[in-house]
């Protein structure tokens, strides 16, 4: 069953490369996404048996991330089909510089999407740390072509940065895994297998200096991929240049996968009694990420970049939550879900805005509420959700983290955390509100009928964000508790 | 008993215009003129009451209501003040707040009536009136608070009756300061020199008189009578503080009170004759002085 989770999208992805018909290819995309989602939901009812010598298994944390990825992918794939239909014409004129560009082949875009899903699923279910690494690197490779969907120089530049910087980071993570292997070697030469569970159970036998070094390398390596500052530098470019479908997945799903890599290391660190050391590092990087995001959100003129920096901010919040430990971990895991849903929705809405206004400049967008009522309303909803206002999901998770910080007596952390959140709200609200409200520029016409999925999908996500803000289902709470259990 | 309480009111109603007559007479005497008769204010009122009325086209019912409300509120305010040996008609804790705000109510309507004419001169007067009274109000309240602190009462009638020579004996400086502040407030509130000149004929420089330029006949009579009552009211407070004669016999006390009123009227006339009117911009400073005096009186 676990193998199927990975294999279905992988095979479907390979198949789609060779399918000529648009209709069939899109059908394959939807059906693969659907099957995978059903399967992963089924794992909540019927726990799957470990596969490949327990290399692939579902632990609570992995299950959560896996399901989230599947569900998000399903939503995005509905959107993607509609999006690709709208993007049919092969050449476009760039709306910033006016040159003519074409899109990549739809077949390779769809194929890469599915392979990307396969890689992300593999990340979620790998229990073997080196395999995890392989999977994370695979996500980079599968997603790079997605960013270069629009064939022009800015997206190319973004792709290059993404590819190179993430590869460098991931290479460091590999070094970290080797360090971990050294740490797992006993003086007598016997070793602990690089399995998550084995390492956790034998954590007290680990060589502390090597483990610390390994943790730092893993943090920097996966942190690069996750977008922790100051390794986040590729992120705003990649997320803003990619088509919105890809941006939604990059922000909503991929960052979680990279975060999972760090969480695996954190689990071992907690088991080894080094939570204070690793927690402090996570806390510092988390706060730095939030601060850096705040700096770039204020005065940001490109709304997709703004969303990208907001992802950096939220990755920072996750790191702070996990770094604090205790009840904050629960908040952090909850925040993973809330952020993914909210951010994916925002990126999809941004795609809709982009399609109508043909500019990424915040100044060029106004009156979205009257031009695109649903998208405009969702944009505002997303703004309030992502800045942590009740009654939306992120409020609850951010509140939980804050409460944990204050309960632990980490007043300074709480103060910094809150001030940054306030600055980000102020910085984000000004341009985002002006986009939704006001009178639209004269040349914008809400004319051409757009596919329902383009607003229905983000609307669904928006409803989910709202519901999670006023009701956290007990089954989810239990799953979150279990997932947070091993993280201190 | 009831008669005793009504007496201060009757005295006030009867003698208030006389006080204005005394002031005017004092000024004429000092200026070396014969001056108008002491009873002239009564004649004026009588004459006004027998006139018709002329209203501007711009005015509304506010203009007609103003004098009535103003007079009504002053009449009620007088019911709170004792005179001589007689307590006020009504007394309860915090009644002087009502007193001050009844006067404010009167002012509110007079000012609105002035604005109702649409004349810029009356607007100007109204503007000055509210400015100076806004500053006079804290001085009045602080003075009352100073008295309240000395006597331990928070109702005006017992408070004024409680001021005695023994209080003076042990808190003379405070009472002196309070008295000074009260006199400044008295001059400001009643449009006397050095704040305002009731006899000027240049509209640009007037305060109270310019506000009522458009009133005539019975309306104007009400306003003038109200002004006289207001002066009487303030004077009563000052006299009660300055001449705390409690002989035991109410009639003697009342006579002493009346004598005090006479002296105050003459003093006012003397002040008016010996001083020039202040520049309008300096008036707030004078009122500020009153506030400072009163605060000192309380704080000491």
């Amino acid at each position: 069953m676990i193998k199927l989770l990975v294999l279905i999208p992988a095979c479907a992805g390979i198949v789609t490369f060779f399918v000529g018909s648009d209709r069939i290819r899109r059908g394959v995309l939807i059906s693969a996404a659907l099957t995978q989602t059903v399967l992963s939901l089924a794992t909540w009812v019927v726990p799957p048996a470990p596969a490949m010598g327990a290399w692939l298994a579902e632990d609570p944390l992995g299950k959560l991330i896996e399901t989230l990825t599947s569900v998000l992918f399903l939503a995005v794939s509905f959107y993607a089909v509609a999006y690709l239909r709208e993007e049919r014409s092969q050449t476009h004129s760039d709306f910033e510089e006016g040159f003519i560009f074409s899109n990549a082949r739809e077949a390779s875009f769809t194929g890469c999407l599915l392979l990307f899903l396969a890689a992300m699923t593999l990340v979620a279910v790998s229990q073997q740390l080196a395999l995890l690494w392989v999977a994370i690197e695979a996500t980079t490779l599968a997603s790079a072509p997605l960013i270069y969907f629009h064939r022009h120089h800015r997206s190319l530049e973004a792709t290059w940065k993404y590819l190179l910087i993430c590869s460098v980071g991931i290479a460091l993570a590999l070094l970290g895994i080797f360090f971990l292997a050294v740490a797992a070697t006993n003086p007598d030469g016997s070793t602990i297998a690089l399995m998550e569970q084995d390492l956790r159970l034998n954590a007290h036998h680990l060589n502390v200096p090597w483990f610390k070094a390994a943790f730092v390398l893993l943090l920097v390596g996966y942190g690069t991929k996750m977008g922790l500052a100051p390794f986040h530098v590729w992120l705003p470019d990649a997320h803003s240049e990619a088509p919105s479908v890809a941006s939604a997945l990059l922000s909503g799903a991929l960052l979680n996968c990279a975060f999972l890599g760090i969480l695996r290391a954190q689990e071992i660190s907690v088991a080894a009694g080094l939570a204070e050391f690793s927690g402090r590092l996570l806390l510092i990087f988390g706060l730095v990420s939030m601060a850096v995001a705040a700096v770039f959100i204020c005065g940001q003129t490109d709304y997709k970049r703004m969303l990208a920096y907001s992802s950096v901010e939220h990755m920072g919040i996750l790191a702070v939550g996990v770094g604090l430990g205790g009840a904050a971990v629960f908040g952090a895991v909850l925040h993973v879900i809330n952020h993914s849903l909210a951010k994916a929705m925002l990126f999809l809405v941004a795609g809709n805005l982009l399609a109508v206004y043909r500019t990424k400049n915040t100044g060029g967008v106004a009156g979205a509420l009257s031009v695109l009522p649903v998208s405009g309303a969702l944009w505002l909803l997303g703004l309030f959700a992502i800045t942590g206002s009740p009654p939306f999901g992120p409020f609850l998770s951010e509140f939980t983290i804050l409460k944990a910080a204050l309960d632990q007596g980490q007043t300074l952390v709480a103060v910094i955390y809150l001030s940054i959140l306030a600055v980000i709200l102020a910085g984000m609200a000004a341009p985002a509100l002006a986009m939704a409200q006001g009178t639209p520029p004269e040349h914008i016409v809400p004319a051409r009928s757009r596919s329902v999925a383009l607003s229905a999908v983000p609307a669904t996500l928006g409803i989910a964000v709202f519901v999670l803000g006023i009701y956290v289902p007990p089954v989810l709470t239990r799953a979150l508790r279990e997932a947070a259990h091993l993280l201190g | 008993m009831l008669f005793g309480s009504v007496l201060p009111l009757i005295v006030a109603l009867a003698c208030a215009p006389l006080m204005q007559g005394v002031i005017t007479r004092t000024k004429s005497v000092i200026a070396g003129r014969m001056g108008q008769p002491l009873m002239q204010p009564y004649h004026d009122l009588w004459k006004l009451l027998h006139k018709g009325a002329v209203y501007s086209h711009t005015t509304s019912w506010i203009f007609r209501t103003g004098p009535m409300v103003s007079l009504a509120s002053l009449l009620l305010a007088l019911a709170l003040v004792p005179f001589g040996g007689f307590p006020a008609l009504s007394a309860f804790s915090g009644d002087f707040i009502l007193l001050a705000y009844l006067m404010a109510l009167g002012r509110f309507f007079i000012v609105l009536a002035a604005l109702d004419t649409g004349s810029s001169f009356e607007g100007m007067g109204a503007s000055r009136e509210v400015t100076f009274s806004a500053l006079a109000e804290p001085a009045l309240f602080l003075s009352l608070a100073a008295l309240a602190r000395q006597t331990g009462r928070i109702s005006i009638s017992p408070l004024l009756t409680a001021v005695s020579w023994s209080v003076w004996a042990h808190a003379a400086p405070m009472l002196g300061l309070t008295l000074a502040a009260l006199i400044i407030v008295f001059l400001a509130e009643n449009a006397r020199i050095p704040v305002d000149d009731p006899t000027t004929h240049l509209e640009l420089t007037m305060i109270h008189e310019v506000m009522v330029l458009d009133h005539g006949g019975p309306d104007f009579a009400m306003i003038q009578y109200g002004a006289a009552l207001k002066m009487w009211l303030f004077a009563t407070i000052i006299v009660a503080v300055a001449v705390p004669w409690h002989s035991g016999n109410r009639w003697i006390d009342t006579a002493v009170g009346l004598a005090g009123m006479l002296i105050l009227a003459i003093a006012t006339g003397v002040i008016e004759s010996s001083m020039a009117r202040l520049r309008l911009l300096r008036v707030p400073q004078l009122l500020l002085v009153a506030i400072v005096l009163a605060s000192l009186a309380v704080a000491l």
Binding site: V292, V295 | W61, T65, G94, A100, G118, S119, F141
Partner: protein, 657 residues
């Protein structure tokens, strides 16, 4: 409690119906307003009963949200705030049915009705919530829904700007509350209100509450959003916001006081200081305004200041062991909450009537409206007299209680303790005088004299739906003025809840205060009678005389024109000049150069000093700092990898070595 839940359900239904019938104007109006009105009327019943002394009620349900529970509790304190909330919401909704019609052609009214329902519901939940998470959610929902109502006319740039300011301010306020409640929860082990109790660090809690709730209430210097947001909103929303929404800040403060245990004198002093600066600055800035609704908004700051003074005096009274001072102070503050709700809603609605027909809020463009809008004018006059604290109206009663408390405090405490009392006393007097100046200006220039512009010339009276709420509120102002004593007497449980004083003490002193209030009311009635008598006499006298009309006397100038009238700016000028130091009014005078000058212009503008000298520089410096750091992201891949390398080496060196 069932009625209250039903009331909340009505609001919910109204909100849902507003979405469903978004395109059907008549249904939308029916259901949108119907939800608010039905919900409010339904909720008024239990609220009034508990406010008049019925036992508290509560309702608790499990709620699957971290640390949350659906825990509602209606006690005397909640009920006292709930009554004006429901009252004003219902009236505002009625008003809105006609007022919003003007926008019908231009935009969808669905958001306005949707968020009005949400706002009403969230305000109700704010005062009912007995769990911190629920409270915070309702609190933010209240802020968000009112934000959307404020930005209803978002096609105007100034409105968007105001919306942003409001949003950021309320968010920052909420931030303090988050910390406050989490710390309270930490100290008491639960986030339910009934588990909160006296804990160490009460002073810190008080300061946090002051900052958090003060932002909503509009305490200086946290008030800067208020004069922006309230005028920008549609008038019925301005009425709700000014009249009741900002009072939830006062509610929160009082609610927190019930948790904190013994009150300390410095809390009271702090509140007195805040109240004084809010009151004086609020009324001074109001005087300097040219925009009628902005003027009213600054008066909200002033009145919140008066309420803070009352609470401050009350706290000082409690801490000094002077029950009368405490009782009168709190009673005055509470009564002023109710009174301000009534007269401020009335004034905003009347301002809405004016804006509705003249399409301007510039005071200096209006004039002579009393003849054209007699009902609006009469109710506005009642509101203006009430807000200036004049007898026999309700505003005087509450200020009277606060005056009494501070007089009593000044008389019975030592030199040290008397300072805040005396400051309160003279401050109140100054505020009262200035408010009188301000409202003679507002009423005099807007309604009296002659119209100063074409628009005012053609003003027409509003319809019944827009007038009826005004009548109700004006009647309320008179009734509370005459029967305030019974309201004061009903406050005993509420005050004992907040002050923790023995109820026997409270009962005695409250009776004393109520007696004075009753005497004042008698005087009020007498005053009305006396005025009526004089009016009768005057009519009698004039009946036999010649009454004629003529031109206003203008020193012999024969044909005065409306343009020659005194203006609002010139009316306020002596005061704004006297307080130049605080107001920093900017004046621009051009022309008057040649012997026969052609054209001269004069402009004056008064910025909010805190906005100009505190918040603008603060936000600018944040902007500058971020702009300074932004070159970090300059594009080159090499530099980016360098960041990674340097950080890695630094962390390695730090952690390993």
């Amino acid at each position: 409690m069932t009625t209250l839940v039903a009331s909340l359900l009505f609001f919910g239904a109204g909100a849902v119906a507003s979405v469903i019938f978004a395109r059907r104007q008549r249904w939308l109006r029916l259901f949108g307003a119907g939800g608010v009105i039905l919900g409010s009327v339904c909720g008024l019943v239990p609220a009034v009963r508990v406010a008049m002394g019925a036992p508290p009620q509560s309702l608790r349900m499990a709620w699957d949200v971290p640390y949350g529970s659906l825990y509602l509790r209606l006690d005397a304190l909640s009920a006292f705030f709930l009554v004006p909330i429901f009252l004003i919401c219902a009236l505002a909704a009625l008003y809105g049915t006609e007022y919003l019609e003007a926008y019908r052609e231009r935009k969808s009214l669905a958001p306005a009705w949707f968020f009005l329902n949400v706002l009403a519901a969230s305000m109700a939940v704010v005062v009912l919530a007995n769990n911190a998470v629920l409270f915070l959610m309702a609190w933010e929902t209240m802020s968000l829904s009112s934000f959307f109502l404020v930005t209803f006319e978002n096609e105007k740039k100034s409105t968007r700007r105001a919306g942003w300011t409001y949003l950021v301010a309320s968010h920052i306020g909420t931030t303090f509350l988050l910390v406050l409640f989490v710390l309270l929860g930490k100290a008491n082990g639960s986030l339910d209100f009934d588990r909160f109790g006296p804990a160490s660090g009460a002073g810190a809690f008080f300061v946090l509450a002051l900052a958090g709730f003060g932002t909503k209430a509009g305490f200086v210097p946290l008030h800067v959003w208020l004069p922006e947001a309230h005028p920008a909103a549609p008038s019925h929303v301005s009425a709700i916001m000014s009249a009741v929404m900002i009072k939830t800040g006062i509610y929160g403060l009082l609610r927190i006081l019930t948790f904190l245990g013994p009150m300390q004198a410095w809390w009271g002093w702090t509140l007195c200081a805040i109240g004084l600066s809010s009151g004086v600055l609020g009324v001074l800035l109001a005087l300097a305004q040219h925009d009628l609704k902005r003027l009213l908004a600054y008066h909200s700051v002033e009145n919140i200041g008066i309420i803070a003074l009352g609470i401050g005096v009350g706290i000082v009274g409690v801490s000094l062991g002077e029950p009368f001072v405490a009782v009168a102070g709190f009673a005055g503050a509470m009564l002023h909450v109710l009174n301000h709700a009534m007269f401020k809603a009335l004034l905003f609605l009347d301002a809405g009537n004016i804006a509705h027909t003249t399409h301007t809020r510039e005071i200096d463009r209006l004039g002579g409206l009393l003849a054209r809008m007699p009902a609006t004018g009469a109710t506005f006059l009642v509101g203006a007299a009430a807000i200036s604290g004049l007898p026999p109206l309700n505003g005087f009663i509450s200020e009277f209680l606060i005056y009494m408390a501070s007089f009593k405090g000044a008389v019975s405490s030592g030199a040290f303790g008397s300072v805040p009392m005396l400051a309160t006393l003279s401050g109140l007097a100054l505020i009262g005088g200035l408010a009188l100046a301000c409202f003679t200006k507002a009423f005099g220039i807007v309604f009296l004299g002659q119209p100063r512009s074409e628009r005012a010339e053609h003003a027409r009276e509003a319809g019944l739906a827009m007038l009826a709420p005004g009548f109700v509120l004006a009647a309320g102002c008179v009734l509370v003025g005459l029967f305030g004593a019974s309201v004061v007497r009903a406050m005993a449980p509420l005050i004992s809840n907040v002050t923790h004083l023995q109820s026997s003490l409270i009962g005695f002193d409250l009776a004393g205060a109520a007696n004075s209030v009753e005497r004042v009311a008698q005087f009020g009635a007498l005053l009305i009678a006396m005025a009526a008598l004089l009016a009768l006499a005057r009519t009698k006298v004039l009946a036999r005389r010649r009454v004629s009309t003529a031109t206003t006397w203008d020193c012999g100038y024969a044909s005065p024109s409306p343009r020659m009238q005194y203006t609002a700016s010139s009316f306020a000028q002596p005061l704004t000049t006297s307080f130049r130091m605080l107001l920093q009014t900017r004046e621009v005078l051009t022309g008057m150069e040649e012997t026969f000058p052609r054209r001269a212009e004069f402009h004056s503008h008064t910025d909010d000093p805190y906005q100009r000298y505190l918040f603008q520089p603060l936000f600018q410096s944040i902007n500058r700092a971020t702009a300074f750091l932004r070159p970090l992201q300059q594009g080159g891949v090499q530099l980016y990898v360098l960041y990674i390398v340097v950080t890695l080496l630094a962390v390695m060196l730090w952690e390993i070595a």
